[in-house]
Amino acid sequence: MGFDAASAAVQAALDAGARYADARVMHRRYESMSARNGDVEELTQHESIGLGVRALVGSGWGFHAVPELSDAAARDAGRRAAAVAAASARVPGPPIDLVPVDAAVASWASDCAVDPLGVPLSDKGDLLVGATATMREHGADLAEGLYQIWDTTKWFVSSEGHRIDQHIRECGGGISATSIGDGETQRRSYPSYRGQYGTTGWELVTSLDLAAHAARVAEESRELLTAPECPAGETDLILGGEQLALQIHESVGHAIELDRILGWEAAFAGTSWLDLSRLGSLRYGSELMNVTIDPTIPGALGSFGFDDEGSPAVARDAVREGRWVGVLAGRDSAAVAGLAHGGSVRADGWARLPMVRMTNVGLEPGPHTLDEIVAATDEGVLMDINRSWSIDDKRLNFQFGCEVGWEVRNGRRGRMLRNPTYTGIGPVFWRSMDMLSGETVAWGTPNCGKGQPGQIGHTGHPAAPARFRGVRVGVRA
């Protein structure tokens, strides 16, 4: 049914004047449950199926989406996409080409040992209820737990002959404890706020063992209320892997998106400080910095078999020994930039246009351990678990807040610190990285916003603890 509808839509777009067309039929089931203070707070189950068709008429793109898969509805959507593309000619741009890609006829499915939608709701509810009740018992004013599951089947057809179906299962979850003081709140989460996610089955959630961490995070959230403030000034900064994953996401992943570099996101998401003329020569960070774009990592949240315009998953370098060497691209943006490949285009459901998105963008492991990094630090702050994030529209100036910090003195981890923040400029910060752990985790970010209309992307970020020298910390109002 999916291939038939997609093929009909593509053919109708071609018949209406398109020189290229592709279509995605997607069927997605989504389930989430949240618990608060020992009770289930909300259980939501969504099911959505529909078709989105993209047409290229002259140099103009058009896209139309409908929630119906009948032959008539699919053909109508194809015609409408072509009409929308024709309207784009009122404000035309330069000619558009697409970098070549083999017209794959293929199937792909993510690994999944335990179907997350097959796990009884009662079991999943018991997990969250139990963990949040434990957090309450250990002092949390607000104890929250959450899991989310996405089960997506998609069928892709292009006028070049692609015919690809994929079945991708993603899930994850986590817990958070909030303690409320007189004038502030403090939060501790495990394994990160709103959880850890992957392209995997329920075995990921089981492996997190949320219940075993409930008491600790609750007690730490209370302890934070009376902990000393993170000092203000310039010092050595050690980041835990979860926070470094978001640092990579914001100051590397988005910066190397080719649509941003080309100015296509200028009015909303922003541009990038990177200049294509310096691809291959720009020093992005220290020689410890090796960042890959790798949608082939089993279980990582940004993994797939093919992207949403039919390019196969291939691992590529983004930064090699500190030098910028690669971008995230689609077939049209790669052609504009004179590059050879796309491979990083994804759509958030059938009703959204495929666009350049992160896949798995992460750091290759370094030679150290966190213990070694702490032992080698005379004076500094260790921060972990993101609490807030903000970065400018060129992806240069960032400020992050973490849930918790620890003083580091004479090679030892000391007192807990509250309200830790740090700020900096991307390339200056990355050039200051002088120690990197090999304790890598592929952190999943299921809430990456981009595009108009808005799209939510699922991205993965292999990361491990690292040290940065001379960073400004303790910024506050």
Binding site: Q45, G93, A477
Partner: protein, 471 residues
């Protein structure tokens, strides 16, 4: 496919789902259903050409079911008999398995629901050519600068029904345009949201954005610190949004995570905030079928109320304020149509007026009047990537964007590089901190249609800039 301008299909679908629940779960089951048909289209441009151009049509069925003391919710996009039956069955199955819900607030009783504001049919079903023509006008008006942004139209028709016999229907249409002009690393912005596409003047918005971009060229770096500021409506919209999400949110209030203290004079006496959904085209009821109406959040500086859905309202004994929304159980009921009332009894500036009086940095006479009172301070066009550091005090960090100027003796004298700031929003608007309000509010679009923020420019005594964006 034909386009229906009515709500009959949605009404029938909602009634069918309620009946399916009655048959499947018996007369004791409580069900509420919202069916929404949406036609959404967005024409996006960058580097002065249309590069993304999309349209979608879809129907969403949202069901909440309370049976045998347990509650579950489901959402589906399939509206054939099989799809509706599947939605009812999986929601019913979920309700059997979840723990009891002793705080279930019950269904909305049958209540008359007034019609919402009239819908502009030309906006509801605008063609791609009509959106493209406004983009053309914007691009032409920037006169050689690079232009980027979007023109958006949306139409929603909705029907609500519940098993208590309450029902309601409504329709809404909205148009928005948001664009920047770019020159030599400097950007200028103009954005506007209206009930009618015909009220969006692409040329006027483009001219305003271009004038501001040219005035923003060659910026100097100023040291961080506290500055008096004039915030233009786009920047004020960010304040309203964060106040709504984190302060006037009934769930956060109940959890003691909000700064809001009803009855306390927490704001400057010039500040009056109203959540006023029917000030624009909108569905006249919320997800739970409760009538939407104006909710005074702050009156002359004194905090008045926070938003509630049926659940959070029952917890505090105040009832719903008409803010039931998808995800509300998790994120809380959030005001999404907040107006900062202007200093005088004047109307909203139409889009043409936003381009009137274009002089560069100061885009309109209303802002100019506020700037004229500043001895030394900054004029800020827009905020970007604001995130909350501490929800209780609503301390927010973010950056300026799309133009900052040094104002000396009432005149913008130099463009300034972007700043990072870290500021408590309620404190910045606190007693004695608001030096002046403009008289011409401009409605600013949100990222999602149906949500908007309307404010004039404001002049504040102090804003805490904690660093330059370049380091």
């Amino acid at each position: 496919m034909t386009r229906s301008a009515g709500t009959g299909d949605e009404r029938d679908l909602a009634a069918r789902v309620v009946e399916l629940v009655r048959r499947a779960a018996g007369p004791g089951a409580e069900a509420e259903v919202l069916v929404t048909r949406a036609d959404l289209a967005l024409t996006r441009f960058a580097n002065s050409f249309i590069h993304q151009n999309v349209a979608e049509t879809g129907t969403t069925v949202q069901l909440r079911l309370h049976v045998d003391g347990r509650t579950a919710a489901g959402v589906g996009s399939r509206v054939d008999a099989e799809g509706l039956a599947a939605l009812v069955e999986r929601t019913r199955a979920a309700a059997r398995l979840v723990p009891p819900d002793p705080a279930w607030p019950g269904l909305t009783a049958p209540t008359p629901v007034p019609s919402g504001p009239a819908v502009d049919e030309a906006t509801a079903f605008a063609s791609p050519d009509e959106r493209a023509s406004r983009v053309r006008a914007f691009v032409d008006a920037v006169e050689g600068l690079a232009a980027a942004g979007y023109c958006r139209t949306s139409y929603r028709s909705g029907a609500f029904a519940n098993s208590a016999g309450h029902s309601a229907v409504g329709r809404a249409a909205e148009a928005a345009m948001d664009g920047i002009a770019r020159t030599g690393g400097a950007d200028g912005v103009a954005r506007h949201c209206a009930d009618r596409l015909g009220d969006l003047d692409g040329a006027a918005l483009g001219a305003r954005a271009a004038a501001k971009a040219r005035a923003a060229a060659d910026p100097v770096e100023l040291p961080p610190g506290r500055y008096e500021v004039v915030l233009e409506p786009a920047a004020v919209a960010d304040l309203l949004q964060n106040l709504a999400w984190y302060g006037f949110n009934g769930k956060r209030y109940a959890e003691r995570q909000s700064f809001a203290e009803p009855g306390a004079a927490q704001f400057d006496p010039t500040v009056t905030l109203v959540d006023d959904p029917l000030h624009a085209s909108a569905l006249p009821f919320d997800l739970e079928g409760t009538v939407r109406r104006a909710l005074p959040l702050v009156r002359a500086g004194t905090t008045g109320a926070v938003a509630h859905d049926r659940r959070s309202g029952a917890e505090v004994g105040s009832g719903s304020t008409g803010h039931g929304m998808p995800g509300g159980s998790t994120f809380g009921p959030i005001p999404r149509n907040v107006r900062l009332l202007p200093a005088g009894p004047t109307g909203v500036a139409p889009s043409g007026a936003t381009g009137a009086g274009v002089t560069g940095a100061v885009g309109d006479p209303d802002t100019g009047a506020l700037v004229a009172g500043v001895r030394r301070g900054l004029l800020v066009s827009d905020f970007w990537y604001t995130r909350v550091l501490d929800p209780k005090q609503l301390v927010v960090t973010g950056l300026t964007r799309n133009g900052v100027w040094l104002v000396e003796d009432g005149v913008p004298t130099r463009a300034v590089r972007d700043f990072r700031f870290t500021e408590s929003y309620p404190r910045a608007l606190g007693p004695g901190r608001v030096l002046d309000l403009g008289r011409r509010p401009v409605r600013q679009p949100d990222r999602v249609d149906g949500s908007w923020w309307e404010a004039p420019a404001v002049r504040l005594s102090s804003w805490n800039f904690t660093g330059g964006a370049s380091g």
